[in-house]
């Protein structure tokens, strides 16, 4: 594929402060055995991109641990491969704080954008979950001789769309005529940006240099809005399964959708030739004892289930004690649930221990969250 990938690992993480306290949004666990970045990375790798740069600002230890050498995505390569780009602090220059937008992130990695032999760059965030062939997007971009093509989805809005959304207005030919950031007022059917964008490499290099010179901060407001009449900006409509995580409640609902909505689960995990790739942990298989009773659940390897589990997502290495009843819960890696515990609508972060006999319950609209390494 004649494109490199750029992934923004930190954007929008204030949407889910609970889960991003000690990690980037890219390394938020999702779907039993994945991190959010796995979906974006796998889309790129499965589309034939072999040079990927991950831009990050802070909290990136878990991200770097997850990506490692990139071998689990076949990205441990001599040429290209994956590079994690943390903020660049230079000698004799005060660090001015993290980047808050796509454009600021790109300015931070300007040096790394200088030598790209591919003609296109595909940029993506981590909070969008889908399984998509990016070749179709790139072909559309090339066919229409576009400068920028943004992937969008037609969505029916009711005025409650999240603060980080971009609504796009395009004419019949697909050319963008207007963009709106954070349009809380919007109702009715609109094209909403999925934050997967293809841009010509040379144009991106120009934008970044110009933005540094002029102090631009937003790709949408400072670049696209100013140039939309001269430049060929286009949309590419995607009509497949897509979910954006913009709050803890969203996260809970989307996770539960993985269990209840077979079509959604299949569109993510069941696409022939496009597996979702993740870091291999090498857990043993999951063990269900004589006392186990499991229904409607997604379960990773390395778990031991000795109790009752319904409508749950169990990450790797979770232990459910004898007599415990766990319903509508999302339990991260190595959570230990003791004997005779009752839990409903709980999200537990990594290495949580819930001691014998406890009762915990949240509500689907307000899941109860237990932070990393806590013992109850």
């Amino acid at each position: 594929m004649n494109a490199i990938g750029i992934i923004f690992a930190n954007l929008h993480e204030r949407n889910i402060p609970e889960l991003t306290r000690s990690r980037t949004i890219g390394s938020v666990p999702f779907g039993c055995r994945y991190r959010l970045i796995d979906f974006t990375l796998s889309n790129m790798v499965n589309s034939g991109i072999t040079d990927i740069r991950v831009v990050t600002q802070y909290n990136y230890q878990s991200l770097m641990d997850h990506i490692g050498s990139g071998k689990d995505w076949d990205l441990a390569r001599r040429s290209g491969g994956i590079k994690v780009l943390p903020p660049n602090m230079r000698y004799n220059q005060n660090y001015t704080g993290g980047a808050h937008s796509r454009l600021e992130s790109l300015m931070g990695i300007a040096a790394s954008l200088n030598h790209i032999k591919e003609d296109y760059v595909i940029m993506a965030d981590c909070d969008g979950i889908c399984n998509v062939d990016l070749n179709a997007l790139l072909s559309d971009h090339i066919k229409n001789d576009a400068d920028i093509t943004m992937m969008t989805k037609r969505l029916m809005l009711n005025g409650s769309i999240g603060e980080t959304a971009t609504i796009i207005e395009a004419d019949e030919s697909g050319r963008i005529v207007d963009l709106a950031l954070n349009p809380r007022y919007a109702v009715g059917e609109h094209d909403v940006a999925l934050n997967i964008t293809v841009i010509n490499t040379s144009y991106l290099q120009n934008i970044v240099q110009e933005s540094i010179a002029h102090g631009f901060a937003s790709l949408t407001l400072d670049v696209m809005m100013r140039n939309k009449d001269e430049r060929n900006y286009r949309i590419y409509r995607y009509d497949g399964a897509f979910a954006t995580i913009s709050s803890l409640e969203d996260y809970f609902a989307t996770s539960m959708d993985l269990i209840k909505n077979t079509a959604f689960r299949t569109a993510l995990f069941g696409v022939e030739g496009r597996p979702v790739l993740t870091k291999v942990r090498n857990s043993a298989p999951t063990r269900y004892t004589e006392a186990s009773s499991v229904k409607n659940s997604l379960i990773a390897d390395g778990c031991t289930v000795d109790g009752t589990v319904e409508n749950c997502i169990l990450f790797r290495g979770v232990k459910i004690g004898r007599g415990a009843v766990v319903k509508n819960c999302i339990l991260y890696q190595d959570t230990v649930v003791g004997e005779n515990v009752f839990m409903n609508c709980v999200i537990s972060d990594k290495n949580v221990v819930v001691r014998d006999g406890n009762m915990l319950s949240g509500h689907p609209s307000k899941p109860y969250f237990i932070g990393k390494n806590q013992m109850l």
């Binding site: 039993c32 055995r33 995990f269 043993a284 999951t286 063990r287 997604l298 990773a300 997502i313």
Partner: protein, 405 residues
Amino acid sequence: MFQKKECVVMLLAGGQGSRLYTLTESTAKPAVQFGGKYRIIDFPLSNCINSGLDTVGVLTQYQPLVLNEYIGNGQPWDLDRSRGGVMVLPPYQGKNGADWYSGTANAIYQNLNFIDRYDPDYVLILSGDHIYKMDYAAMLDYHKRMNADCTISVLEVPLAEASRFGIMNADETGRIFEFEEKPKQPKSTKASMGIYIFNAKLLREYLIADEADPASSKDFGKNIIPRMLDNGCAMYAYPFSGYWKDVGTIASLWEANMDLLGETPAFDLYDRNWRIFSRTSARPPQFVGEDARIVGSMMSEGCEIYGCVENSVLFDGVYVAPGAVVRDAVIMSGTRIEAGACVEYAIVDADTVIEAGAAVGAKNNEAKIAVVGTKLTVPAGMVIAAGEMINEAALNARKEGGSNA
């Protein structure tokens, strides 16, 4: 260029394993699946890396494709090294013609050049058909402490079963004075596990001498070990205690899988200090449906369970339809058990379909295990009896027989 290694491991993985019947028709025995996500060779390879041994030659011969592909560059076991690591060693053509490996000793003899590159002090010989966890470093320490020429790992077996094994008769210091292959009247119960440590120089001499002997069958157990004993070499029995299973037969393979189940499994795969590594496929998590029932079982990622699974081991990507029953069975990767089908006391190889209402195997007390080979379709309603073995030919014969009748 090659860094000296104290100990080089040679893993014999060329065996056909004909007693595994259709499971080894197109796969070498060490590549046969075991324990929900592993292959047999994962156990010796993981033991090597856990013991700190990082230079392993894997000798392949019979149906090597799957095995070679599986080992690859050795990355799952951290054996992708630029100094040492894992190396697949197939038979090769030389100046004086080409030779298949004609015995275990001959296989090592033909690869003396591989061993020599690392100039090792010791050579550890393993076979790729046993399930066990063992610290080879402790055995090597024993070998050095005893100042031995050769150390053979032995396991105490029940006297009644001793006549099935090679028995090492040793004195109280552990020094072996006699070796008996499958003795009718065993004098001791120390069975050889087929794990040997040799002093490299001595091994080299014996292999060269053995190769020159036309009467030899070029086998460690039959030729090399007895000759070393006769010549008065210092040979010691290293006592191993713990789980060890030869999975060379259908019944023992099934039993070893069953040993992973139960309240306190006979063999523990969950030991964080002695992990078993394997090459994993990128499969989604297991999905357990509304009416599923899973008890006393073990399964891997990619499974979709809507039916009943009891006391069974399921590999990755197995599908069990609503109303299907899997009981006391081993189901390998990607196999589908359709609605109303029943699989009991059976091993079903990978990528096979058991169609609706078919029955494979039946409960029995003699460990008569039904076997269905890989990439087959057992048609709807077909009944495969307890202990029956089904490969492609047998299935076709059954189908024709059915239509004639």
